[in-house]
């Protein structure tokens, strides 16, 4: 077991080195200083900015600095006097306030839908649920967000006569701020993720339910309830858990559209604002942190997988 963990850790070192290299190169292909300053900048301004960013140093030195702490203490370009670290620690919480509840809600609803469908496999209920999932998946993500805001915030508020969900923004000083600012994004997010997850979970559960050991369990006269709970669901949970684990890093970054549209100052919207504003320090720092988060969860997923399924260790 430990051997497996160590092997995984070792394998991820070059991956980490590689991704930071890719990020660095991608951000430097097109000189970030000129991109920011525009063509009318003087040579002095150029040199000055370059030094502020630490871009005058050799590539290897910059690489070393990025590896050693993501270069987080650099100052953001747009937000004067704030470092990347400050921006990051400020942006994490709004992201989590939406992503966390959304993940829980999505997983619960998707699992329930999948169970219902798998339990009634091939019958009308299953067909309707899965047809609904395919239809839902075929509409663009962005449309859900736009219409969700229109009907969930504008129309609902108009109809009720007072503000239930805020149309945009994020303000923690309000009482019930979470309901006001975060609940609607969470609901929209869950609504559009359920289709994908339910299909996946259903496939997993159906596959488990056709296994030999399930037939044996039935043959020896176990009750249907016991067969499903103990023999099907328990095995299916392995895939469910890994699926949830894999989506963890996307939690922080995957809400980009929702954060941008609802004006929530999370990590996704901070990154997009930085990209559009060519705020180089933020783009580089955030991407590097995303990569690190991703790799950590990847390792955790692999290890968890090996714990629940001993066969994995042998590969």
């Amino acid at each position: 077991m430990w051997q497996y963990v160590v092997r995984k850790l070792l394998w991820n070192i070059p991956v980490y080195l590689g991704i930071l290299l890719v990020v660095m190169v991608a951000l430097r292909v097109n000189d970030p200083v000129w991109a920011r300053l525009g063509k009318n900048a003087t040579q002095e301004q150029y040199e000055q900015t370059k030094e502020d960013l630490g871009l005058h140093e050799s590539f290897l030195r910059q690489y070393g600095r990025l590896l050693n702490g993501f270069d987080l203490d650099r100052y953001s370009w747009d937000k004067h006097g704030r470092t990347v670290r400050q921006e990051l620690s400020q942006a994490v919480w709004p992201s989590l306030a939406i992503a966390g509840p959304a993940l829980v809600l999505t997983t619960l609803v998707a699992l329930l839908t999948a169970l219902l469908a798998a339990f009634r496999r091939g019958r009308p209920l299953d067909r309707w649920l899965m047809a609904g999932a395919v239809v839902g998946m075929s509409i663009s993500y962005v449309v859900y967000v736009i219409l969700g805001q229109y009907f969930g915030a504008y129309k609902l508020n108009e109809w009720v006569g007072r503000e239930i969900f805020a149309i945009q923004g994020y303000d923690r000083s309000q009482p019930l701020w979470w309901v006001q600012y975060c609940l609607l994004p969470v609901l929209i997010n869950a609504a559009l993720a359920v289709g994908y997850d339910a299909r996946f979970y259903r496939a997993v559960i159906v596959e488990e339910s056709t296994r030999d050991h399930v037939r044996t369990a039935r043959a020896k006269g176990l009750s249907e309830r016991r067969v499903w709970l103990k023999h099907v669901l328990r095995n299916a949970m392995i895939s469910v858990i890994t699926h949830v684990m894999i989506t963890l890093p996307f939690l922080v970054a995957g809400q980009i559209v929702i954060e941008v549209y609802f004006g929530i100052p999370g990590m996704g919207s901070t990154l997009i604002t930085a990209i559009l504003g060519k705020d180089f320090p933020i783009v580089q720092g955030f991407t590097a942190v995303f990569a690190a988060l991703f790799i950590v969860t990847n390792i955790a997923t692999d290890v968890l997988y090996a714990v629940v399924d001993p066969r994995v260790r042998l590969q």
């Binding site: 890719v22 509409i139 449309v143 736009i146 219409l147 496939a203 997009i272 990209i275 991703f294």
Partner: protein, 388 residues
């Protein structure tokens, strides 16, 4: 034949056949546009006042008043110019042209229209004053006399152009959403084909040769997939900001191309790991065939079903990702794409105008739905392990 059994299985599913026909229809539209059925100019041409609803749906009086105001403004500006005749000849809204009468007559008609216009006080809220509505009808009739009446094909063409209404610049929503089919197919096919070819070659080589090739390929895809995909796409688009190709579709192709090959590469690698153990590959090896030839002639053809399924998965992802990236301001800039239309519709929805978002979503929905069903059926037919 390699696929004959799969084709038979595929054809048994009625939904699958319908979806395949749907995809072919879209493809035909795409080819038609490519050949000039709807040109880029058509998609940018102003065909009427802004935000006209589709199917000639009724509008609020205030909006009707604004529309007449817009039309009269066109004539007023033209008649103020020195070369009246020329300026008038330039006025066009889709197929509509200035009435074929002498300039003096036209000026008279315009004055008549303005007389009614002035009677309807601009500051009043027409929506609330039904007694003014007949007057509004008169104004519209007066404004209509400035235009040459449309007949036959022109009238039909104009109706088609206004079928789904117009966007905020008075451009035909129908033509734009149809022209976007070409953009979407272009993105989907180029990205899908390129990614599947690159992914298959790398994945097959990694699995077949093993050793350092395998390690290298695995490292490459682990690396590129260790940043959330939307973040990586954004960074890659950032790469092109301020460069010569920024306005074109090239940044989009590059960003998709660099990330999308990972899926097919993984699946093909897994499949080839299995295939290379099979007897016929061993036999080919024993016969002394070159390894690269075995890979190309015996191994890769046997993953073609995987390639097909992966292509259709990527096609859908590319089309959907275009919309998301464009929405974030990082994707298509200057072409009429569904992403552009949906992004523009943000403000319209707030004002209760759903034609643009509705048309773009509907046209896109049908294609993506057809492809989703098609992919499922394809997997059913080709992959015995796939769960339907």
């Amino acid at each position: 034949m390699l696929f004959s059994r799969a084709v038979r299985k595929f054809r048994k599913s009625r939904l699958a056949v319908i979806s395949a026909i749907g995809i072919l229809a879209y493809l035909a539209i795409g080819i038609g546009i490519f050949l000039g059925l709807v040109t880029r100019e058509d998609a940018f041409e102003c065909v009427g006042p802004n935000h006209v609803p589709g199917f000639g749906a009724a509008q609020k009086p205030e909006k009707r008043f604004d529309d007449v105001d817009f039309e009269l403004g066109l004539f007023e500006r033209a008649l103020k110019r020195g070369d009246k005749e020329e300026a008038l000849a330039e006025i066009r809204l889709g197929r509509r042209r200035v009435a074929d009468v002498p300039v003096e007559e036209l000026e008279k008609r315009l004055d008549a229209a303005f007389e009614i216009f002035d009677e309807l006080d601009v500051s009043r809220d027409l929506n609330r004053e039904p007694q003014l509505w007949p007057k509004l009808g008169e104004l519209e009739a007066a404004a209509a006399r400035l235009w040459q009446p449309l007949e036959g094909r022109d009238a039909f063409s104009q109706r088609v152009k206004l079928a789904f209404g117009t966007d905020r610049q008075g451009r035909s929503i129908l033509l734009r959403s149809v022209y976007a089919v070409k953009i979407a197919l272009q993105i989907g096919i180029i990205v899908g084909v390129a990614s599947v070819i690159v992914g298959t070659l790398l994945g097959a080589a990694a699995a077949y040769y093993g050793g350092w090739v395998d390690h290298l390929v695995q490292w490459l895809y682990s690396t590129l997939s260790s940043v959330p995909y939307l973040v990586l796409l954004s960074v890659l688009v950032f790469m092109f900001q301020g460069s010569a190709v920024e306005q074109s579709l090239v940044p989009l192709y590059a960003a998709f191309g660099l990330t999308f090959w990972i899926g097919p590469c993984r699946v093909v690698r897994g499949e080839v790991l299995r295939i290379k153990q099979l007897d016929y590959v061993q036999a080919a090896t024993a016969l002394g065939q070159r390894r690269s030839l075995i890979l190309l002639k015996h191994v890769i053809p046997n993953v073609s079903h995987v390639m097909l399924v992966q292509f259709s998965l990527l096609f859908i992802s590319a089309i959907k990702a275009e919309v998301v990236l464009t929405f974030l301001g990082l994707g298509v800039k200057d072409e009429p794409s569904w992403g552009i239309m949906i992004s523009q519709a943000k403000q319209e929805v707030v004002n209760g105008f759903f034609w643009q978002i509705g048309a773009a979503t509907a046209v896109m929905f049908l294609l993506v739905l057809a492809f989703n069903i098609f992919t499922d059926a394809l997997q059913d037919a080709l992959d015995p392990k796939h769960i339907a």
